[in-house]
Symmetry: C2
Subunit: 207 residues, 2 copies
């Protein structure tokens, strides 16, 4: 497991091969199947490991709003450090994801959100976090792994502005903002948007 995580960190998603992992562990590829059912399970376990670390430090005695901002940001940073986590989070069937939901849900509950609204609120936060994580991981695949933040954003901005300005006016208008922005701040702004909405929507329809 530890070796698998190392390999993922070093060379990304595609580099984790049963053959390569077996070679690194000095065994045959067949030996791995004694410990893990298949490749998906291996990826899922590695992802859950990372996310377990992210939610573990979430304490129920903080201000719930701050606690939510904090787990969200830790998730963001974890995906930044391990892009393969972002990729796999969007594909895996409720192991790491469920840990995140439980953590967020607990804080939402302690915020005083009425029970009927807790489900929608917690999943909205979760979906936003997962979406941002995936997008970040996708962006990471566009640049060499050793590029710095600024170079990274410039590459993404270049993708945006490569489109026809007439067809993509909005995207062109905000491309400058993208180049200079702090994506952790942007991410937190999104979390705040949802938190602000939770304070306001409450009753919508009675259907």
């Amino acid at each position: 497991m530890a070796t698998a995580t190392e390999m993922l960190d070093e060379a990304g998603d595609g580099a984790l091969t049963f053959r390569a992992l077996a070679a690194r562990l000095q065994t045959g590829p067949g030996a791995l199947y004694w410990h893990v059912a298949n490749r998906d399970e291996l990826l899922a376990a590695a992802t859950e490991n990372v996310i377990a670390g992210v939610v573990a430090t979430s304490r129920p005695d903080e201000d719930p709003r701050e606690a939510i901002r904090a787990v969200a940001l830790r998730t963001f940073d974890a995906v930044d450090a391990h892009p393969w986590v972002g990729t796999h989070l969007g594909r895996e069937p409720w192991s790491a994801t469920l840990r995140l939901l439980e953590c967020i849900g607990g804080h939402v509950d302690r915020m005083g959100v009425p029970p009927a609204a807790q489900f929608d609120s917690a999943t909205a936060l979760l979906n936003f976090i997962l979406g941002a994580a995936g997008q970040n991981a996708a962006n990471a695949r566009l640049v060499p792994p050793d590029a710095d933040r600024s170079a990274f954003l410039h590459v993404v901005a270049a993708h945006w502005t490569s489109r026809d300005p007439a067809e993509y006016p909005f995207v062109h208008r905000i491309a400058d903002q993208l180049r200079e922005h702090d994506d952790r701040e942007q991410f937190l702004a999104g979390v705040d948007l949802i938190l602000a909405g939770m304070a306001n929507v409450r009753s919508r329809d009675g259907s």
Copy 2:
């Protein structure tokens, strides 16, 4: 392209093989490389096709809030009909995603959101939509493709409740809600949460 989309719809992501596609088109696998650079480009083109249809019907004369709800819901439904779109949306480098962002951004602009806040607002909506799409696609992989909505939700709920209730109290508490809920409504509730937040956050910090 059309044949590729057909195959993806019939048998999912893994079924689209260059060999299988070539066989269906009565050619050799090498022939495809004249028209497309590689498998990723094929998936990206198919995804962009679907998303282009989703954004095409978005008119700038509607109420912007309703227009955002409508594109979001069309994306949700498109992913529901083609789960592979949800999978690929979270991995692709700004072709389909950029179309969505442009569409959403245009509406956000017409909502009267101040320019400085448009970037964060539009990307928050985008990330939420992408996250929900990915999660939906992941869920679709858990159930047989012909299962109905109710069976589908019961399978997901079973995953949730299979965990230790002591470790996952929140998840257990909302599992009943999951089983009975309308996931399109839940999705729209998330969109509304963000829209409500946009009306409220405005000024946060001046750093």
